[in-house]
Amino acid sequence: MSSTAPPSNGVDHVDERLLRTTPLKKLLARPELGSVVGAIAVFAFFAVVADSFLKPSSLGTVLYAASTIGIMAVPVALLMIGGEFDLSAGVLVTSSALISSMFSYQMTANVWVGVGVSLLVTLAIGVFNGFMLTRTKLPSFIITLGTFLMLTGLNLGLTKLISGTVSTKSVADMEGFPSARKLFASEATIGGVEFKVTILWWLGLVALATWILLRTRFGNWIFAVGGGADAARAVGVPVHRTKIGLYMGVAFCAWISGQHLLFSFDVVQSGEGVGNELIYIIAAVIGGCLITGGYGSAIGSAVGALIFGMTSKGIVYAEWNPDWFKFFLGAMLLLATLLNAWIRKRVEATK
């Protein structure tokens, strides 16, 4: 194993010892592989059992369902690669929508002011999560569970206090609403199929996150702080700033999701979002993110979200009881995690 062989003379020559890695094995080492196989299986399954699943109009519906999860699964996956969780991600979306809606309604005449204020406050909550985590060194599970509960309470409490009911007043007749709606909740018809703008946001975020992860210094640091924070610190990686940045990423995407929520329904229900944080995490894990950090991909999280979209809508198209959705989810999660564990073992066992 140890390199006692004479040094090779060229850089670009193919090392004869590389024969051991077959293309198949190389493919198996990709974090997304398990999820892609799963996605194909799920697609084939529903294509057979549900007649309307293959209709063009279903494509728009499935992609929309996938995009609403996918927009949040991207930053949650990055955070997970960085070795942390965010249990407050689900209610943060609702908080962001509530802030935007109520600030606009109570303080101004233009929704864009609320949208801007919401961005600042949401990012501040992300910074709070990251700051608390890096300062206290408590597990992110505890810190963000605390934020999750506090935000859940604040969402309900403040909305009731300000609006008198559990939902906000409609902002549909306010200035700037049409343009905000265009940006966050419009749809386009292509070839007779209706596509929501969230799909664009989703694909854009996946591309951006992949770029950051694989081609920037910050991306290198994300892998490092998740895979070995002490080693990263020892070579000069700003571990704390990297983690705070990741929480701000979650907050930014929560803001996008929140604005979509607000501008597609005009009003926001203050109790929404609870439980979604787990869905984002599951999408990331199905997509190949290691729950212990240091491994995963943004594209994987997108495939995970796509599996979610196909399963939730496929069950409807197959006219089954929606209860089955949870069963599928559980089985999917278990299989994906087993596959990930196996990959990690392969990567680490040959020390």
Binding site: M1, S2, S3, T4, A5, P6, P7, S8, V11, D15, R17, L18, T21, W211, R215, T216, R217, G219, N220, W221, F223, A224, G227, G228, D230, A231, A232, A234, V235, G236, V237, L290, G294, Y295, R344, V347, E348, T350, K351
Partner: protein, 264 residues
């Protein structure tokens, strides 16, 4: 003994206390360019405390610490690094799941392009990693493999090559051979010698006098926080070093105890 022009690192009568615990007292150590200074000692002898002072993790409480003749008190590991002291810890060297080339440049990644297009210079990173490793005599199968798939010795070697590449003047190695087999240890020692031949000063922390004697030029023996002995290579034999390290008469007793059952 200290007649060399200016040692890269020189500790004189350095002490360190943790509250009322004396971790280190009156220890002197000299590291010259192109030489290997070994710090020997059993568990709890103060080896790690010494290494932490040199690496900038702890400040010394008494004595003087000079880097290239200038008296210093290091504020943090970054400070030590900036002054050319690179430390390779036993476990802290690398991130196992990341490819070799990403590990090699971690924390000092080269970039190209401007503004939003500023990106990692992946090609440069890959080829430089391969070349830097080759220069140290490490021929890696594939710089894309996760560093966790390398053997313990290979990983140590990558960490050493990294320190050499980034222009370290002094290399501090914390028990590089502790968890390795005989063959692997030999490989690592070869790279330690290669680093020395590149003109670096090396501090080799170990509890194995055999390994130390193979490559070392100076030897400092620590025992219970104090300096038990200090030798240069020509003033001590391996047997003497081993005997002092193991505690002389204690070893004799142990040998008798252990020999009896086998009948030899």
């Amino acid at each position: 003994m200290t007649t060399e022009p200016t040692p890269l690192v020189e500790l004189a009568d350095v002490s360190k206390y943790y509250g009322n615990i004396r971790a280190l007292e009156g220890v002197s150590l000299e590291v010259n360019a192109g030489e290997i200074s070994c710090v020997l000692g059993d568990n709890g002898a103060g080896k790690s405390t010494l290494i932490k002072i040199v690496a900038g993790l702890h400040r010394h409480d008494a004595g003087t610490f000079r880097i290239e003749g200038e008296e210093v008190t290091l504020a943090n590991p970054r400070d030590a690094l900036d002054r050319g002291i690179a430390t390779v810890y036993q476990d802290l060297a690398v991130v196992p799941l990341m490819p070799v080339w990403r590990n090699f440049f971690l924390g000092s990644e080269p970039t190209k392009g401007k503004g939003p297009l500023k990106r990692l210079d992946v090609e440069l990173m890959r080829t430089t990693t391969r070349e830097a490793l080759l220069r140290m005599g490490i021929d890696l199968r594939d710089v894309d493999q996760p560093i966790g798939t390398l053997s313990g010795g290979e990983r140590q070697c990558v960490a050493i090559a990294r320190a050499v590449h980034f222009g370290a003047k002094v290399l501090v190695l914390d028990e590089p051979t502790a968890a390795l087999g005989v063959k692997q240890s030999g490989v690592v020692l070869k790279y330690v010698a290669a680093a020395r031949d590149e003109g670096l000063g090396v501090v080799l922390i170990t509890h194995n006098p055999h390994h130390a004697y193979l490559v070392g030029d100076r030897f400092v023996l620590l025992k219970r926080g104090v300096m038990a002995a200090s030798h240069t290579k020509d003033s001590v034999t391996l047997d003497e070093l081993t005997r002092q390290m193991a505690g002389g008469s204690e070893l004799e007793d142990l040998r008798h105890e252990l020999e009896r059952p086998t009948g030899t």
